[in-house]
Symmetry: C2
DNA sequence: GGCAGCTACATGCAAATTGCATATTGCGTG
DNA sequence: CACGCAATATGCAATTTGCATGTAGCTGCC
């Protein structure tokens, strides 16, 4: 009875997913067009947390549904066909917007580590904080 | 006929969740102890994407299960009891480790936008790019 | 007192995402 | 041919999340 249907997640180590995976893929595509297998390997070599290849392929499909990348089947080389992806203008805009949000996020983290208050984004208020 | 069971996600705007939410909470707790409601408001004022308060409370419970924060019921003030959270040593270590990964992630993104290749993390690839 | 409204935390449920295994097709090699 | 690799895709369960709602304590107001 090889019932392997009840798979448990080993959760061995943290994985890259969500918007961080998506934007990493967009960033790689900024440099040059690429296909999924290639992008999956670039991620492995990037020093970022690993991510499952199935997750990468699905992330690329979602990016295409969102209009941030476009793709076509490339059969010019030998081997199985590759789905070539390229970044769209909307994708590049999304990437830039995300990087702005990321900078703010990083300010929050490093500001907290340094023991300083991070100034509010647009509201000039909240001076009631008194640290000991 | 309040059958609102068929809820659709309006997906109005991006939300903060996952590890980015978790580490933002840890960062806030680095400065001073706080309780969930307060942290939820700090997030709203931080300029980061919004996040649902229920998600914040659940994130805090998970952080406690992971040993990154500890909590106790604070009934010293009026009003409903507050669950006070404080950062543990493990939580602070996790925060620092995460910030390192985040720096690498940011290198990937900004490096791609600048049109440069990001050097590999551990491979002895000799380029004229030196760490600054 | 009655009651609305705020603070503070919690949870139920469906939708969305993800981890892991597996399937598939094409090609090269012993 | 059998096998393995390249390249993409998908089935299914586990997990996470969005949104609504529920709880309890306190304050202000009439």
């Amino acid at each position: 009875m090889a019932e392997n249907t009840g798979r448990k997640r080993t959760t061995s180590e943290p994985r890259l997913h969500g918007e961080m995976l998506a934007t990493s893929l967009l960033a790689f595509l900024k440099g040059c067009n690429a296909y999924g297998y290639q992008l999956s390997q670039q991620l492995s070599d990037s020093g970022l947390p690993q991510s499952d290849s199935g997750t990468v392929y699905r992330a690329l499909r979602q990016l295409e549904n969102s209009g941030f990348v476009s793709s076509f089947w490339d059969t010019s080389d030998q081997g199985p066909a590759r789905r070539m992806y390229s970044l769209t203008a909307a994708g590049e805009l999304f990437l830039r917007t995300w990087i702005d949000a990321l900078n703010r996020y990083q300010e929050v983290l490093t500001g907290a580590l340094a023991g300083f208050d991070v100034p509010a984004a647009t509201e000039g208020e909240s001076t009631e904080e008194e640290v000991t």
